[in-house]
Symmetry: C2
Subunit: 120 residues, 2 copies
DNA sequence: CGGAATCCCCAGTGATACTG
DNA sequence: CAGTATCACTGGGGATTCCG
């Protein structure tokens, strides 16, 4: 079975854009977790910290800023007596959820398949 | 490592497994690029190096070992005169492609949306 | 409560050279 | 061609502290 040996250097595959740049959308530690946590609706800063467990405030803050700048989520300041901030996914950010779910599903299958050892 | 103990106050999250662990399937530098490059078919070591551009042999080797151990791809040694090795996705690894494509699509939309905002 | 500023640290990455 | 071994380094992330 002869392989199609392609020699394209710059754009080897019909990819719409550089995968690396697109993956950067969910780059940074806990960024997927933040999106994952927001998939059920808006969450506040402390709620996100509780959801993602071992995330420091600094990193969470940085991540939220980055994700907001990327257009993945929006920041909503509630003018309450104790100031609170709500974060929620944009419509585009919401499109990432199926992707994450797909990865989760594969990770799930992979885990149980490894448990079965090698039995084809 | 402490696993997330969610309290589900306002948002019940029916997560099948820890997202972090599932995301680990594509963790490591250039791992998504390797999968992406393999989505069109089997590739050899040097082809992958050419596809992924700035990846060192060491890292690519490490990544390939990890991805093989995770059951994402398989390694096939061809007994030719110049020894060559082919890598190709497993069926489970192939399931990651739609996920990556979804991310790419969102990244794409995000880019052109940002382009409209910043560069009229 | 939310988050900005500061310091510290090490895992992961890259470059080079060597082997089969 | 397909790796492995060694070393040095960077920057992303953690803990802490202070501000609005």
């Amino acid at each position: 079975m002869p392989l199609p040996m392609r020699k394209n250097k710059g754009a080897p595959l019909p990819g719409p854009c550089s995968l690396t740049q697109c993956m950067a959308v969910i780059s940074g530690a806990w960024a997927p977790n933040v999106i994952w946590s927001l998939r059920a609706g808006a969450r506040r800063f402390s709620e996100l910290r509780a959801d993602v467990p071992p995330v420091s405030a600094k990193v969470l803050s940085t991540r939220l800023q980055e994700l907001e700048a990327r257009g993945v989520l929006i920041r909503n300041v509630m003018p309450t007596s104790p100031p609170s901030v709500e974060y929620s996914l944009t419509d585009l950010g919401r499109e990432l959820i199926p992707a994450l779910e797909a990865i989760v599903e594969v990770g799930h299958k992979l885990k149980q398949r490894q448990g079965l050892a090698s039995t084809p």
